[in-house]
């Protein structure tokens, strides 16, 4: 550092001008205030609301009542069911689509990829609305069944069941898996696949032993994002009109807006936030561990040990 300073040419008049030095606080406080104001304060307000009783006094009665209620536990279970089911379905469908788009050249592949991207720009309820028009009790499919099998034939009420919600969420959230996966596949060297094939590996083996490990971080990132989003999804569930599908966001809405039971709604909302943060922490931890493992872990397959041991 000293050398650098000593070697500097003599500073001109403009260089001698003192640099604008503001206290660090000037740079830190505004963004911090914004975060606290727009994120922290509402969360504190919700938390505060959850620890007050009907008279405004501090009380944990709402917590004990809500957390042990069958409604909350049912909503928690349903939320997990829908979120996990949607995530798994999204991972399967998204992986399939990404692999086809990346490795199976067909006319219009680019257009299909862009159409999938377009779904990201649509509001989630639109997908559900489209589902209603297509598969609802007065939808296109029902009309087709009626015209073929008679007025008595009815479409099973899949749309208003948890399965319907999961299918709608899979449709909407699949691009969240396809996009990062396509990006990861695009940088996967083709030579690796060719060499793997020349070594005797069939397509499935190449997929499992070469492609999958390489795109696992992208898959984990996409899946985790979908899990978080489906956990908090409200529009799709509401628009299906599935009365039996009460997830945590629906419960918050019901308690807070319909029943005007704000303390209960605040408890569920706080639980929802905690759940989301836990999942996010697990996601970060998982990604970090994945990276560490790929850098240092032992693949654990016999040959590596045996080969090394044989020469030691």
């Amino acid at each position: 550092m000293t050398t650098l300073i000593a070697d500097r040419p003599p500073a001109g008049p403009s260089a001698q001008r003192p640099a604008l030095r503001l206290p660090v606080a000037v740079w830190v406080i505004p963004p911090l205030a914004m975060v606290l104001g727009f994120v922290g304060w509402p969360m504190v307000a919700v938390l505060g609301e959850s620890v007050r009783d009907g008279d405004g006094a501090l009380s944990l009665s709402s917590w004990s009542t809500v957390l042990t209620s069958s409604e909350f536990l049912g909503a928690l279970g349903r939320t997990a069911q829908v979120a996990i089911g949607s995530t798994l379905g999204t991972l399967l469908l998204g992986s399939f689509l990404a692999l086809v788009l990346a490795f199976v050249p067909f006319p219009g592949a680019g257009l299909v990829a862009r159409l999938i991207d377009t779904v990201l720009a649509l509001p989630s309820f639109l997908i559900t609305l489209a589902f209603t028009f297509l598969y609802g009790s007065a939808g296109v499919l029902q009309a087709l069944i009626t015209s073929v099998a008679g007025p008595g034939a009815r479409l099973p009420p899949i749309l208003t069941s948890p399965l319907g919600v999961i299918l709608a969420e899979i449709t909407f959230f699949t691009p969240f898996v396809v996009r990062p996966l396509l990006a990861a596949l695009s940088v996967l060297p083709r030579e690796q696949l060719e060499v793997a094939a020349s070594l005797g590996a069939g397509p499935l083996r190449v997929l499992r032993t070469v492609v999958l490990p390489e795109v696992l971080p992208a898959l984990a990132a996409g899946g985790s994002l979908v899990l978080l989003l489906t956990l908090n999804e409200f529009g799709i569930v509401l628009f299906t009109g599935a009365k039996d599908v009460v997830t945590l966001p629906v419960l918050i809405y019901t308690r807070g807006v319909v029943s005007l039971d704000l303390p209960s709604a605040a408890v569920v909302a706080t639980a929802q936030v905690v759940l989301s943060l836990l999942l996010y922490t697990a996601y970060r931890f998982g990604i970090a561990r994945l990276r560490t493992e790929s850098a240092t872990s032992d693949p654990g397959e016999g040959a590596s040990h045996a080969a090394v041991v044989a020469h030691q």
């Binding site: 060297p189 030579e191 690796q192 060719e194 060499v195 793997a196 094939a197 020349s198 070594l199 005797g200 590996a201 069939g202 083996r205 032993t209 070469v210 490990p213 390489e214 790929s294 850098a295 032992d298 693949p299 397959e301 016999g302 040959a303 590596s304 040990h305 045996a306 080969a307 090394v308 044989a310 020469h311």
Partner: protein
């Protein structure tokens, strides 16, 4: 295209590799670009064939066809006499080493090497033994537990070779295996590849390179490619000493292509030729008609510069440039009798020349070989090296289009 050597075609056993009349077209939408045209190659077991050619000449495409990565639009591929054209790469049993090495980054070195053995579902003890053997062959025994990113470029290349050898292939394909290494590593790896070659007496090797030094050092035979066609294919020594075409003469060894006139034929392998007032003896791969035009291919190191401008075999010339390159100085001259032709000469050591210096060009007896004067399909690789071309592109090298004796070089 030159026919395969008589020895190869007359061998009783089927060739280890036989590409027969291969065409490849790269299609994009409705357009189609020819990448290979009528390429026929035979390689016997234990033989190393180098495919040499400039970028885009189709040599890597030929390798991909053999590996099964590309399907030819015409022609057949045979391995040990068996037609494998329709077999997927996984069932061909060919070892492949690519320029980027393509090691699997998430697998340790030993697991990379064992990859092909596991794909074949061999017993674990066999996998372990053959992995260790392959690593030993390339001197990487102690690196089995490392990840590819923990290795140098040369070490990665050895692992890639070990991985290809572990499956004990009858055919090994090397696609520019030294191209990604720096010059020092390349020299060392070249020696290692020579040693490896000696240890694989039954393996046919197809080696793709654009570096003539690698081809000369490793190959028993060399195929020279240009524009998707196999221009020449012959034993390495023959191709070096008697290049059958202007393109090969120019690409392999960077020969000057000097237009001459045949004066008389001495025997089947030599002739007296005339360039301006000078007459000298040149090698010839076939008999030449006295009075016919021909082209003398003579490499820069085979020519001599003299300070004397007089003499029956000395051609007065003028220095147009001189580049010291360490062991030798590359001098470019314009011969008075061929004012538009630039000739390159390598003089040992550091030679001081000034632009415009008068020198004499001496072509020693049998320093060059006669190649056909008129070859449309096999012309030199670059624009003819005239003064105008030299001004724009100093590195180009070829006979002048204004040569007084030989016909003009026509661009394809």
């Amino acid at each position: 295209m030159t026919a395969p050597s008589a020895a190869a075609s007359s061998a009783a056993a089927p060739d280890a590799v036989h590409l027969e009349g291969i065409d490849v077209d790269y299609r994009q939408g409705r357009s189609s670009t020819p990448a290979l045209r009528d390429v026929t190659i035979r390689i016997r077991a234990g033989q190393t064939l180098a495919l040499l050619g400039p970028s885009g000449s189709g040599k890597s495409t030929a390798l991909k066809v053999l590996a099964g990565f590309l399907r030819p639009s015409a022609g057949r591929v045979y391995l040990d006499g068996t037609d494998i054209t329709d077999l997927p790469p996984a069932r061909r049993g060919i070892g492949v080493v690519v320029q980027s090495y393509a090691l699997f980054p998430h697998l340790r070195v030993a697991d990379n090497v064992a990859f092909g053995l596991r794909a074949r579902r061999l017993p674990k003890d066999v996998i372990a033994a053959r992995t260790a053997e392959a690593l030993g062959q390339v001197g990487m025994t102690d690196f089995g537990r490392r990840l590819p990113r923990e290795l140098s470029g040369g070490q990665q290349q050895r692992v890639a070779i070990a991985r290809a050898l572990a499956i004990r292939p009858k055919v090994l394909l090397l696609d520019e295996p030294l191209a990604a290494l720096d010059i020092h590593l390349r020299q060392g790896m070249l020696a290692e590849l020579q040693r490896l070659r000696a240890n694989l007496p039954d393996t046919a090797i197809l080696f793709v390179t654009h570096d003539q030094a690698e081809a000369l050092a490793l190959a028993d035979r060399i195929g020279v490619m240009r524009d998707g066609r196999l221009v020449d294919l012959a034993d390495t020594q023959d191709l070096w000493h008697r290049p059958p075409s202007r393109f090969t003469a120019s690409f392999l060894g960077g020969a000057n292509l000097i237009p001459v006139q045949v004066v008389s034929t001495l025997d089947q392998s030599s002739a007296v030729v005339r360039l301006a007032e000078a007459e000298f003896v040149a090698n010839a791969s076939q008999a030449r008609e006295p009075g016919s035009a021909s082209v003398l291919a003579v490499r820069p190191h085979a020519l001599r510069l003299t300070s004397s401008l007089d003499g029956p075999d000395v051609l007065p010339a003028r220095v147009t440039s001189a580049q010291w390159r360490g062991p030798a100085t590359r001098v470019t001259i314009a011969v008075d009798a061929l004012p538009d032709l630039l000739i390159e000469i390598d003089q040992p050591g550091e030679i001081q020349h000034r632009l415009g210096d008068r020198v004499g060009l001496h072509i020693p007896p049998r320093a060059g070989v006669l190649v056909p004067a008129d070859q449309l399909a096999t012309g030199p690789p670059s624009t003819p090296r005239t003064k105008a071309a030299a001004a724009a592109e100093p590195a180009s090298r070829a006979a002048s289009s204004a040569a007084p004796v030989a016909p003009l070089e026509r661009k394809p």
